[in-house]
């Protein structure tokens, strides 16, 4: 990012109580407080949220799309992590 504009903040909005915050986009702002105010005006003009998080975009580390296959592969050959892997005789209840 060039230094000709304010830092970029990624915006996360919680839509209703009890559900996770979800990424909705980003805003430029000089500090966190103003980033939250800008995010409110840009992303929640129609009551889309009850809570906003902003995170400096440069602080986010992400897995790399090129490594997606290998990176997530270890869980692919472990079907025994799912309940459907196990055969339970008919008639056995609450299992």
């Amino acid at each position: 990012m060039s230094d000709s504009q304010w830092p970029l903040w990624e915006v996360f909005v919680q839509g209703n109580p009890g559900i996770p915050h979800k990424h909705v986009g980003s805003v430029h702002a000089p500090d966190a407080e103003m980033a939250i105010q800008n995010a409110r005006d840009v992303y929640t003009r129609r009551s889309e949220g009850i809570s906003i998080w902003v995170v400096p975009a440069v602080e986010i580390s992400a897995s790399s799309p090129e490594d997606q296959g290998a990176f997530f592969e270890p869980s692919n050959d472990k079907p025994y992590r799912h309940p459907t892997f196990y055969k339970i005789p008919e008639g056995v209840k609450y299992l």
Binding site: S2, L8, G25, H28, P30, D31, V42, R45
Partner: protein
Amino acid sequence: MDDKKQLEQFEAKIAAGLKIEPKDWMPEAYRKQLIRMMSQHAHSEIVGMLPEGNWITRAPSLRRKAILLAKVQDEAGHGLYLYSATETLGVDRSELLEQLHSGKAKYSSIFNYPTLTWADIGAIGWLVDGAAIMNQTALARGSYGPYSRAMVKICKEESFHNRQGYEIMMNLAQGTPEQKEMAQDAFNRWWWPSIMMLGPSDDKSPNSDQLMRWKVKMESNDAIRQRFIDRTVPQAEFIGLKVPDADLKFNDVTGHYEHGPINWEEFFDVIKGNGPCNAKRIKDRVEADKKGAWVREAATAYAAKQAKEKLVA
């Protein structure tokens, strides 16, 4: 992985209906085309605030004023979503704004027409936002994740713009003879530019094949234009306005309206910068940027002061 293999995977992903995300590999032509399209789209939202902003202080009632303010604020928001979506492709917003202010970047031809009466505000919401929705609902199915997501959000909001415009036109069309005349006059002036804003006809629209395959473009300009006309003509008839096209007729066999010749010369002339308001729009935009500079400077200074005080404490 070599580029050929990367390209194959990229195209397979798109063909399977998956979205391309910012960090994914993409061909340079895809990135370039998206930056061009998305920034033009963002500029159009921002410049689009000017013709309507012209009527905020003169709205005929408090209700209309509050609605128009909310609509113009939405357009600013749309500009922001789109600039931030464009930035995910590795370009700075400041750079894009610089291109707009220097006249290098394009924006929608429609905003170079003047808003002469209150009825123009109705015509813009109904026709211009109506045409934009046709285009944007198609783009929402596009392959680039951030653009497609911005389009989904924008389309939801545009629907209010469209309806409030139609309501203005309906009220005027059902009003006094003078009000009806004003509505018809605005309709006459905005109909053709609205049809043209959907872009050149297919035989004059360059490199569409690749863009369609990459789902950068989802539908041809003519297909979108046809749908807009088919939907809008009955809306006009319902409120007693006459479509300013002597050749317009409904084809019973195809189930579509057929329209008269479009004045493409005018369209390309406006794009080139010779529309009634091109110079004024850029001048106003540059001035707004200058006049707002102190707010940005103050915000920066305030943030620096807060950070310093936090450090001391």
